[in-house]
C-alpha cells in the first residue's frame, strides 16, 4: 500500500505532509508520557519490531500470502502516540533507504498508513473495551475488530486523497471498490494475526499491553484443586463499572455483533469478484461507461456498475461507515468517560 511518487499531485501531497508532521509532533509529546521518559530506546525498538513483523508473511488461501501492516497492533501494544510515531519512523526509513514509497508521497503514506489506522483502531479498541466485560477474551476480540476496521479505513482514506488529488483518471467508484475489497481481505488476516498476537502477549506479559492496562485479573486461590476467588477486596472493584454500563451494554453488544456480521458477510461477498484482477470484467464495465457517455461524475460510475458490484461497494462502504462512526463515537464517549471519572481509572491503571 506504499504510495509511489507521482500518484497523488503535489498540493495534496504537501497538505498530507503537513497533516503527517502535525500528527508526528503531537505523538512525540504523547509518547513521552506513554513510555515515561524511555521514549527513544523503547520507541526505536518497537519500530524495529514493526519493521520486522512486516516481513512475517502469513499464508492466505490459494498460495498467496499477505503481511501485517501493524498499525492496530502497535496502537494496542504500546499506545496510540507511540504507535503513530513508530509507524511514521518505519515509513520514513522505508522511503529514504529502501525506496519503498515515494519521498514526496511520504506525508500521504504516514497519514494513511500511520495516522488513520492507528487512530481508527485505537478509538474502536478503546470504545469496545469500555463497553465489553473486562476480560482477556474481550480485549482480544476488541483487537480483532479494531484491526479489521482499521485496514479498510486506511483504504477509504487513500481513496479520499485520491479523489482530491489523484493524477490518473481511474473512476472513483472503481478505485473505492478495488481498494476496499482487497483491503477487507487483508484486514481479515491483519485482524486475526493482531488478535492472536495480542492474546499471546497478554498470556505472558499482560503488563506490557497498553490497551489492557485496566485489566486487573482477580486473584485466585487453588483450594483442593479448584480455583476459588479471593473474597472481599477484588469483588468490590468491578461493581461500579458494571453499574455504569448496564443500560449501554445491550445496544453496544448489538452494534458490535452487527459490525462483525457485516464484516464477515462482506468478506464472503467480495471473495469471488476481485476488483483489481478481473481485467476482463472491468473492460466490460468500460464499454458500459462509454455507452452512457457520462464518465465524469462518480455518481455515474456508481450507476453503471452491475448490481453485484454496486451492492458490494455499497455494503462495504456501509461497514466502513459503521466502523468509523463507532470509532469516533466511542472515542468521544471514552474521552468524556475518562474525564468524568479520573480517580478510579488512574487507580485501575496502577501506573507509576
Amino acid at each position: 500500500m506504499h504510495v509511489p511518487d507521482g500518484f497523488i499531485n503535489a498540493p495534496v501531497s504537501a497538505v498530507a505532509g503537513v497533516v503527517a508532521a502535525g500528527a508526528v509532533a503531537v505523538s512525540l509529546r504523547g509518547a513521552r508520557r506513554e513510555l515515561d521518559g524511555r521514549t527513544a530506546p523503547l520507541a526505536g525498538l518497537v519500530a524495529a519490531f514493526i519493521f520486522a513483523v512486516q516481513m512475517l508473511n502469513f499464508p492466505v488461501a490459494a498460495g498467496t500470502s499477505g503481511h501485517l501492516l501493524g498499525g492496530a497492533l502497535a496502537a494496542i501494544l504500546v499506545g496510540p502516540y507511540t504507535g503513530v510515531l513508530c509507524i511514521a519512523v518505519v515509513l520514513l526509513m522505508q522511503g529514504i533507504l529502501f525506496a519503498d514509497g515515494g519521498l514526496t508521497a511520504l506525508g500521504v503514506n504516514i497519514t494513511v498508513m500511520g495516522v488513520v489506522t492507528v487512530v481508527v483502531a485505537y478509538a474502536l479498541f478503546r470504545g469496545l473495551t469500555g463497553v465489553l466485560p473486562r476480560t482477556r477474551r474481550s480485549t482480544t476480540a476488541a483487537a480483532f475488530v479494531a484491526a479489521l476496521v482499521s485496514v479498510p479505513a486506511a483504504a477509504v482514506a487513500f481513496t479520499a486523497l485520491y479523489a482530491i488529488g489523484g493524477t490518473t483518471d481511474v473512476p472513483l467508484g472503481k478505485v473505492l471498490t478495488a481498494m476496499v475489497g482487497v483491503h477487507v481481505l487483508i484486514g481479515i488476516g491483519e485482524a486475526a494475526i493482531t488478535a492472536l498476537t495480542v492474546g499471546a502477549v497478554l498470556a505472558v506479559r499482560p503488563d506490557l499491553v497498553h490497551g489492557a492496562q485496566g485489566l486487573a485479573a482477580p486473584l485466585k486461590l487453588r483450594v483442593d484443586g479448584a480455583l476459588v476467588d479471593v473474597p472481599a477486596a477484588p469483588a468490590a472493584e468491578p461493581a461500579p463499572a458494571a453499574r455504569g454500563r448496564s443500560t449501554r451494554g445491550v445496544w453496544a453488544t448489538g452494534l458490535v455483533a452487527a459490525l462483525l456480521l457485516a464484516g464477515f458477510v462482506s468478506y464472503y461477498a467480495s471473495a469471488s469478484p476481485d476488483g483489481l484482477e478481473k481485467v476482463a470484467a472491468d473492460k466490460g464495465i468500460d464499454e458500459n461507461v462509454k455507452e452512457h457517455g457520462a464518465a465524469d461524475s462518480p455518481l455515474a460510475d456508481y450507476g453503471v456498475k452491475d448490481i453485484s458490484d454496486a451492492r458490494l461497494s455499497g455494503g462495504l462502504a456501509g461497514v466502513i461507515g459503521v466502523g468509523v462512526t463507532v470509532a469516533v463515537g466511542s472515542g468521544v464517549f471514552w474521552a468524556v468517560h475518562r474525564r468524568r471519572r479520573p480517580e478510579p481509572v488512574a487507580g485501575a491503571l496502577g501506573s507509576d
Binding site: 511518487d5 507521482g6 527513544a40 524495529a48 520486522a52 513508530c86 533507504l97 468500460d286
Partner: protein
C-alpha cells in the same frame, strides 16, 4: 552500527557523490523528486533527460547499472498496477499491439511509471552512496526533531537484531517440521510475533537502563557535527537545478 558494519543497502566507495555531506544529498534528492513530480506528463523528453541526469550521477558515484536495476525491483507491485490502468480507465480507445486500450489510461500509466521509477532511482542512489549513520546525521542537521532521529537510529541499529531474532525463530520452527500452509497456522505465527514483541520491548528496557547508567539524560550528545561548504552545496544542488530547468522547459514548450 559500528565501523565495518555497513548496511547491505550501502555501496562502499570514495566517489565525489559519496563524499558529499549527507544533508546536501538529502535536499538534492528531495528537490529532484519534487521537480520530477511537478513536470507535465506530456513532456516525454523531459523524463528522458531526468533519466540521463540520474545516470550521470550514478556514473559519477560509480554505482554500476546492474546494482541500480536490481534495487529498482522494489517497485514491481505498482508497475503491475500501472499496467492495468490502460484497461480500467474509461475514455477514448485506441489500438496498441492488437489490444484495445484507453488513451487517458495510457497517459496515467506512463505518469505513474515514469515519476515513480525516477523517484525510486533517486532514493536508491541516495541510499547506496550514503551510510545509514551519516544519513541520520543529515536528517538531524535538516532540523528533524532530535527525538525522532534518535528513534530512527535505534530502529536501524536494532532492526537487524530483531529481524535476526525473527529469523532464528523461523529456523527453530522449521527445524521442528513446521511449515505455514494456511489459516490454521496463523496462531503459530502470531505467537512468534508476540514473543518477538516481548523480546524487543524487554531489550528496549535493557538498552534504556544501560544508557541511563552511562549518563543518558534524554538527549544524545552530538559528537560529529556535519557541515557543508558553499562549493559542496553548489555541487549537490546541480542535480535539482538542472532538473528544474528541464521542468520549466517542459511547461513552456
Amino acid at each position: 552500527m559500528g565501523a565495518g558494519h555497513a548496511h547491505r543497502l550501502y555501496r562502499h566507495g570514495h566517489s565525489p557523490v559519496h563524499r558529499l555531506p549527507p544533508h546536501c544529498k538529502l535536499v538534492a534528492v528531495l528537490g529532484f523528486v519534487v521537480v520530477v513530480v511537478s513536470t507535465p506528463r506530456e513532456a516525454l523528453w523531459a523524463f528522458a533527460l531526468y533519466a540521463v541526469l540520474l545516470a550521470a550521477v550514478a556514473a559519477v558515484a560509480r554505482v554500476p547499472a546492474g546494482f541500480l536495476l536490481k534495487r529498482l525491483a522494489i517497485e514491481v507491485p505498482f508497475v503491475a498496477f500501472a499496467l492495468l490502468m490502460p484497461f480500467v480507465v474509461p475514455g477514448e480507445q485506441t489500438e496498441l499491439l492488437g489490444l484495445t486500450v484507453s488513451v487517458p489510461g495510457l497517459w496515467g500509466a506512463w505518469n505513474v511509471l515514469a515519476k515513480g521509477t525516477l523517484g525510486v532511482a533517486a532514493s536508491v542512489l541516495l541510499a547506496s552512496t550514503t551510510e545509514l549513520r551519516s544519513l541520520l546525521l543529515g536528517l538531524q542537521r535538516l532540523r528533524l526533531p532530535p527525538l525522532l532521529v534518535q528513534i530512527a537510529s535505534f530502529m536501524l541499529r536494532y532492526g537487524d537484531v530483531i529481524t535476526d531474532e525473527l529469523r532464528r525463530m523461523s529456523i527453530a520452527r522449521r527445524s521442528r517440521g513446521f511449515e505455514a500452509r494456511g489459516v490454521r497456522h496463523w496462531g503459530v505465527l502470531a505467537k512468534t510475533a508476540g514473543a518477538l514483541f516481548i523480546r524487543s520491548y524487554e531489550r528496549g528496557e535493557r538498552v534504556h537502563l544501560a544508557m541511563v547508567s552511562r549518563g543518558y539524560t534524554g538527549t544524545m550528545p552530538v559528537i560529529d557535527e556535519v557541515t557543508a561548504s558553499r562549493a559542496q552545496w553548489a555541487y549537490a544542488c546541480a542535480l535539482p537545478v538542472l532538473a528544474l530547468g528541464v521542468c520549466l522547459l517542459g511547461w513552456t514548450v
